[in-house]
């Protein structure tokens, strides 16, 4: 059966009335939760995971597809209307989007953002259809050595490009790996770091940590910031039409941004943030309206928004073909799948092609729904932003905490979520990024298992591990990345020292 026929069968599953409603609900909830400052895609998925409990697995996948796209767009809405970036990927949208809103062009900015996101999402999904089954086919031949080496490369790259110092992000990765070793060791059956507590015997649940460090931490931060009332502009449907000139300037930017996002999404790390900054730089350099940058250039919205969605979609290629999440949002999506007994990876493509292609189709449906539902309702979403955070955040806090209970029907999980909420609040408040911690927590157990199995198979020889072609390339790339990163750091430190000294006031 060709991929095309399989995809058509996936659509038969995804477009039943029940699943269409599920996609719509997912997009609406994802957009609304994504608009809450600070949550981002990861926090939004964590917050909304409980609503999928009790649903059949495929409907849950459809909901997650909608939430994933809705959350990304929700962040853009807040950025454009309120100048509040929900996450790193929305920062550059604030610059041009909010400037457009101040000129009365908020509707055009929102519609161009939606169109760009849609196009980039579709491009990413085409890439997913074309490449994921092939990569999954190769990955079937992978042994623990290859998985270990891919995970190591992912962590090394992530440590180097998380937007903070390499020491800080490396430390966060290692703390995540440490948390992942808590509980009964699956290889030896030994109880580790449980402090004789039954709560920790099964380990620290990835989802509970995420609900803590994203959901609960954001609640605490907002509580500490105080109640803030905002007044976004009112937007009528007719305001959504971009002018002919705006449209003609947006199309090349959307195309460039989509390609940039697609490529960056294949690299481990905060691909959304990196791709938006890169796209912004490209538009500022090459677009027709480059002289308007800073005062509301539409290319500065179209390019980065497309790049963000393109990256969010193409990062699903390694997720679905290898079962490895390359950023926190993908890890959250993966955890949502795992809760429903669906394990993405090469085996999903070969043993449950119905689910794999159904998921791809549901992502397409989610992307279309985003355009169909969000644009007409953008005025409603804007008015929802008028609800004071002082009312919203208590409700979010209760949803997060009660949702934590439903993950394992265990009251002790609530205490863990609160503890990780405090940890996330303090870490984020003092400048540490928690995304590397989340990925470290997720990949840590995979690395440990892969490493131990590799060592047993190779009779303890690291040379054997490095001599396998694929794993050798991955480890070589990781080593090269570390060398380059250290070289850049040294050059920055010592190369700029004389300049700093020269320019320092005497």
């Amino acid at each position: 059966m060709t991929s095309f026929h399989a995809l058509l069968e996936g659509f038969q599953l995804a477009v039943t009335p029940g699943n269409l409603v599920a996609a719509g609900v997912g997009v609406l909830l994802g957009t609304f939760a994504g608009m809450l400052p600070g949550l981002g895609i990861s926090g939004t998925i964590a917050l909304l995971i409980p609503i999928s409990f009790g649903l059949d697995p495929f409907t849950a996948l459809v909901i997650f597809g909608g939430i994933y796209y809705g959350a990304a767009y929700g962040g853009s809405t807040t950025s454009i209307l309120l100048n509040v970036p929900g996450e790193g990927a929305s920062v550059v949208t604030c610059v041009e989007g909010y400037a457009m809103a101040r000129r009365g062009r908020a509707g055009a900015a929102l519609s161009v953002a939606a169109l760009g996101s849609f196009f980039a999402g579709m491009l990413g999904l085409v890439g997913l259809v074309l490449f994921a089954p092939t990569i999954a086919g190769w990955a079937l031949a992978f042994g623990p050595q290859e998985y270990f080496c891919i995970a190591v490369l992912a962590l090394v790259v992530l440590s180097g490009i998380s937007g903070q110092s390499m020491v800080q992000s490396g430390l966060m990765v290692v703390v995540g790996v440490m948390l992942g070793t808590i509980g009964i060791d699956p290889m030896t059956g030994v109880e580790r770091f449980t402090m004789s507590s039954d709560i920790l015997l099964d380990g620290v649940s990835f989802i509970i940590v995420v609900m803590g460090v994203y959901g609960m931490a954001e609640v605490l931060q907002t509580a500490a910031d105080g109640d803030s009332a905002v007044s976004p502009p009112r937007i009528a449907f007719r305001d959504l039409y971009p002018t002919r000139e705006e449209l003609s300037r947006s199309i090349p930017a959307i195309f460039r941004g989509s390609v940039i996002g697609f490529l960056i999404g294949l690299v481990p790390g905060p691909s959304g943030t990196i791709s938006t900054f890169l796209s912004y730089a490209v538009e500022k350099r090459f677009s027709r309206g480059r002289d308007q940058f800073g005062s509301g250039a539409i290319e500065g919205v179209a390019g980065p928004e497309s790049a963000n969605n393109g990256a969010d979609t193409s990062t699903l290629i390694p997720l679905l073909s290898l079962g490895l999440p390359f950023n926190a949002g993908a890890a959250l999506l993966l955890s949502g799948f795992l809760i429903h007994g669906i394990t993405p990876g090469p085996n999903l493509v070969s043993t449950r092609p119905d689910l794999f292609w159904g998921l791809v189709a549901s992502l397409v449906v989610g992307n279309v729904m985003l355009l169909v539902i969000n644009l007409p309702f953008v005025g409603v979403f804007a008015s929802l932003l008028r609800i004071p955070l002082g009312i919203l955040m208590p409700l979010v806090a209760v949803i997060v905490l009660s949702g934590t209970y439903f993950i394992g029907n265990n009251l002790s999980d609530l205490w863990l979520a609160i503890a990780f909420g405090v940890l996330g609040w303090v870490l984020k408040g003092t400048g540490y990024s928690v995304a590397p911690l989340i990925i470290g927590l997720f990949l840590g157990p995979l690395i440990e298992k892969g490493f131990i199995q590799s060592m047993v198979l190779a009779d303890g020889s690291l040379v054997t591990l490095m001599s396998r072609p694929f794993s050798g390339i991955m480890l070589g790339a990781a080593a090269l990345f570390i060398v380059i990163r250290i070289g850049l750091e040294l050059r920055r430190r010592f190369g700029s020292a004389p300049l700093e000294a020269a320019s320092a006031p005497r």
Partner: protein, 153 residues
């Protein structure tokens, strides 16, 4: 977000405290990891990866502490204008976690929502606060218990 961005000596103290706490956590982890059998390279045991992770973690935590110490305040501390309100939120959420299994989902959720709204908004619009807490608790009780048919505590 309109967080209070603290910098200067106070921020440096907070940054140092966090860096020290991270070092203490990594050191404790490494100490505990050495209690497990390390094994040998061709037969790694339960302490193998934790010991390696602990060593790397301690090294990085020391590097982080030195960096904070030398740079001074590496960035602003953004723990909000009123961390006390966050602590009040924490107290309510802890009470919710404690009460959920004892008094049931609906009463505990109503009490927690009401308390959080009061912490957040104060006594202004008390009737509105009561209505929001009641309606919200009823909606999520219906959603989780009857629509999604999840076992309620």
């Amino acid at each position: 977000m309109n967080s209070a961005e603290r910098s200067g000596p106070a921020a440096r103290t907070v940054q140092l405290a966090v860096a020290l706490a991270l070092l203490a956590g990594c050191s404790f982890y490494l100490y505990a990891a050495t209690g497990f059998s390390f094994g040998v390279w061709n037969n790694p045991r339960a302490g193998f990866v934790p010991t390696i992770a602990g060593c790397i973690g301690v090294a990085l935590a020391i590097g982080n502490l030195v960096r904070v110490w030398r740079v001074g305040s590496p960035g602003p501390v953004e723990l909000g204008l009123s961390p006390q309100r966050a602590l009040a939120f924490l107290a309510v959420l802890a009470a919710y976690a404690a009460l959920l299994g004892k008094i049931g989902f609906l009463p505990a959720t109503f009490a927690a929502t009401l308390a959080l709204l009061l912490v957040s908004r104060g006594m202004r619009g008390l009737l509105q606060t009561l209505v929001i807490a009641g309606a919200f608790s009823a909606i999520i009780w219906l959603l989780f218990g009857f629509v999604l048919k999840l076992p309620l505590p």
